[in-house]
């Protein structure tokens, strides 16, 4: 059984577990509890929020400066390098996720653990423009995918996420021949032990194309500090390491190192490969190191500006026919790299609709963080943790009557 089939099977199992909520242990659902008449009434009449996660749409642009390519000192490699010229790339990423089903149930021996299950639909559209100065016509690579993810938070400590991101990639240079289906997926377990405040760790496995080739890699990560705290540090291999400073609810400043990259079919119209392949594969990767400023303008809108140096920029070209019939990482016929180059990355995020209250709910914060870190489409370019609000000194100021009128009753005034 191949690894991708294993992932699909695990996904089906994960979903099945979510849909069999009453199979194990004592359950006490808010939706099916003894106070069912209350809940029936609420369902019938209220506009109660159904989900904890809000539909989110984000768009970002990432670009590097132009640098000379350096390849191995062989005639064939130098020949391709000369035909490519200098290299830079720009990327536009549009991502989206929306919850379609959420279940909240009290479970455990004393029915005090609020277990939640979230099923989300995800979408991703990406334009990747590797620009080679010596090519007369540039390749515009694209990636489009619709996926699903399931998140299960249980036992007040654990979160399991399974993300399935099938997508189609290709080269606009020759759409018909370069179109190809790929499947990225991730299964992660996140644990936030109650005995160790402000700490969580993650273990998992990911099928990713982020490193410019197809890999099945372990995922290992940890976080020190609260997600709604002033500082926290998080390292998530193979994705990123971040040190986040949140001076107030509106702003966060992040020092980060982040992997970026992709893997695409490329038209061989410019005969970069000397064989008979009409389509070859192109992989690129790098490590963006820099600072990022996130501004959470409101509950619904946030944006970020980020810049720094992109290091370890590498590209590879692979022959399709040479690598046929294997599910292993592909063997390349050309590789090159550039020196570190400046990059700029900007983006906006929109969140829509109402969500259930998760203030102070640290496990739900981990759900949000996991959901945003493992972005749809395997681009390592998520919307940021806009749902997690750090409390601020000025929260007590400018409270308006309309914000509290629901909470105050006449007798409170005596």
């Amino acid at each position: 059984m191949t690894i991708s089939y294993s992932f699909r099977l695990i996904g089906v199992l994960a979903l099945s577990i979510g849909f069999l909520p009453q199979a194990f242990g004592k359950t006490d659902s808010l939706a099916y509890s003894s106070a069912s008449h209350v809940n029936a009434l609420l369902r019938e009449r209220s506009r109660e929020a159904k989900h904890y996660i809000r539909p989110t749409l984000w768009i970002s642009n990432f670009g590097t400066a132009t640098q000379a390519l350096t390849s191995r000192n062989t005639v064939a490699a130098q020949n391709i390098t000369n035909r490519l010229g200098n290299y830079r790339f720009a990327q536009t990423n549009l991502g989206f996720y929306a919850p379609i089903y959420t279940q909240a149930k009290f479970k455990g021996n004393d029915t005090t653990h609020l277990n939640t299950f979230h099923l989300l639909v995800t979408a991703n559209l990406l334009n990747d423009k590797p620009q080679f100065s010596a090519l007369t016509e540039q390749h515009i690579l694209y990636k489009a995918g619709i996926g699903m993810r399931a998140i299960w938070a249980f036992g007040s400590e654990h979160v399991i996420l399974y993300d399935a991101s099938p997508f189609v990639t290709g080269d606009r240079y020759n759409k018909a021949t370069t179109r190809r289906f790929l499947f990225a997926s991730t299964l992660v377990w996140n644990c936030t032990p109650r005995s160790v405040p402000g700490f969580s760790f993650r273990l998992g496995i990911t099928r990713t194309f982020l490193l410019g080739n197809r890999f099945s890699l372990p995922m290992v990560g940890f976080r020190i500090g609260r997600l709604d705290g002033k500082f926290y540090f998080s390292a998530q291999f193979p994705r990123n390491a971040v040190l986040v400073y949140q001076p107030n609810p509106k702003i966060s400043v992040t020092a980060f190192t982040r992997v970026y990259g992709g893997f695409y079919n490329l038209s061989n119209s410019d005969s970069l490969y000397f064989g008979t392949d009409s389509v070859i594969q192109f992989g690129r990767t790098g490590l963006a190191n820099g600072l990022r400023l996130d501004v959470r303008a409101s509950k619904n809108f946030s944006f970020f500006l980020s810049g720094g140096m992109a290091a370890n920029n590498k590209i590879w070209l692979y022959s399709s026919s040479f690598n046929q019939g294997t599910n292993r990482p592909l063997r390349h016929f050309y590789d090159a790299k550039t020196v570190s180059t400046p990059f700029i990355h900007v983006g906006v995020s929109f969140r829509f609709g109402k969500a259930k209250n998760s203030a102070g709910n640290t496990l739900m914060y981990d759900v949000f963080d996991l959901n945003n870190t493992i972005d749809p489409g395997d681009n390592n370019d998520g919307p940021g943790n806009g749902e997690i609000r750090r409390s601020g000194k000025n929260d007590a100021k400018k409270i308006q009557y309309r914000d509290v009128s629901d909470l105050i009753e006449e007798t409170d005034l005596y």
């Binding site: 909240a104 102070g360 496990l363 409390s391 409270i399 509290v404 629901d406 105050i408 409170d412």
Partner: protein, 164 residues
């Protein structure tokens, strides 16, 4: 793609504009603003955590339960307020039968609110020591008073004469 991006930025600008508009000062009868609700929730978390001296382990179990029930109660309260508004504004136009129904549902809301509180209480008993549970209800009341104090302070600053 370029055309798509242009459309996106136009939509983004409109959304941002609507956001600014949504945050403009409003009258007393308007619903709570999104940012206002967030602020109140954050204040409440800080207030109750401090008052109860919740340990991180207790907080990790307490907040999901507390939020879930508070949300149910808030929704009940909103429904009751809608009915009261109906009675307040249309009492002369409504039939006796309709008014009787509204009066019955008022009592039903109150009973349901107590039922939810009792259900939450039973769960919290299992995770909080008696001292903290007793302090919770006091803290809830004190939080309301704190909100009233904040409101009156703000009112005194913005409207020192006390006139309309």
């Amino acid at each position: 793609m370029k055309r798509f991006l242009h459309i996106f930025w136009i939509v983004a600008t409109l959304l941002m504009a609507s956001e600014v508009y949504a945050q403009a000062p409003a009258g007393k009868n308007d619903g709570p603003s999104a940012s206002g609700t967030e602020k109140v929730q954050a204040l409440k978390v800080a207030f109750i955590t401090k008052r109860l001296s919740l340990t991180p382990a207790e907080a990790q179990v307490f907040w999901p339960i507390y939020n879930e029930y508070q949300e149910k109660r808030d929704n009940l309260r909103k429904q009751a307020q809608e009915d009261r508004k109906k009675v307040r504004e249309q009492a002369d136009k409504l039939t006796d039968e309709e008014l009787q129904k509204l009066a019955d549902s008022e009592i039903e809301f109150r009973k349901n609110d107590v039922a939810l509180q009792a259900e939450m209480h039973e769960k919290l008993k299992k995770i909080l020591p008696a001292r903290k549970l007793a302090l919770l209800y006091v803290a809830e009341e004190d939080f309301k008073k704190e909100l009233i104090r904040l409101l009156s302070e703000d009112n005194a600053t913005t409207n020192p004469g006390g006139s309309k």
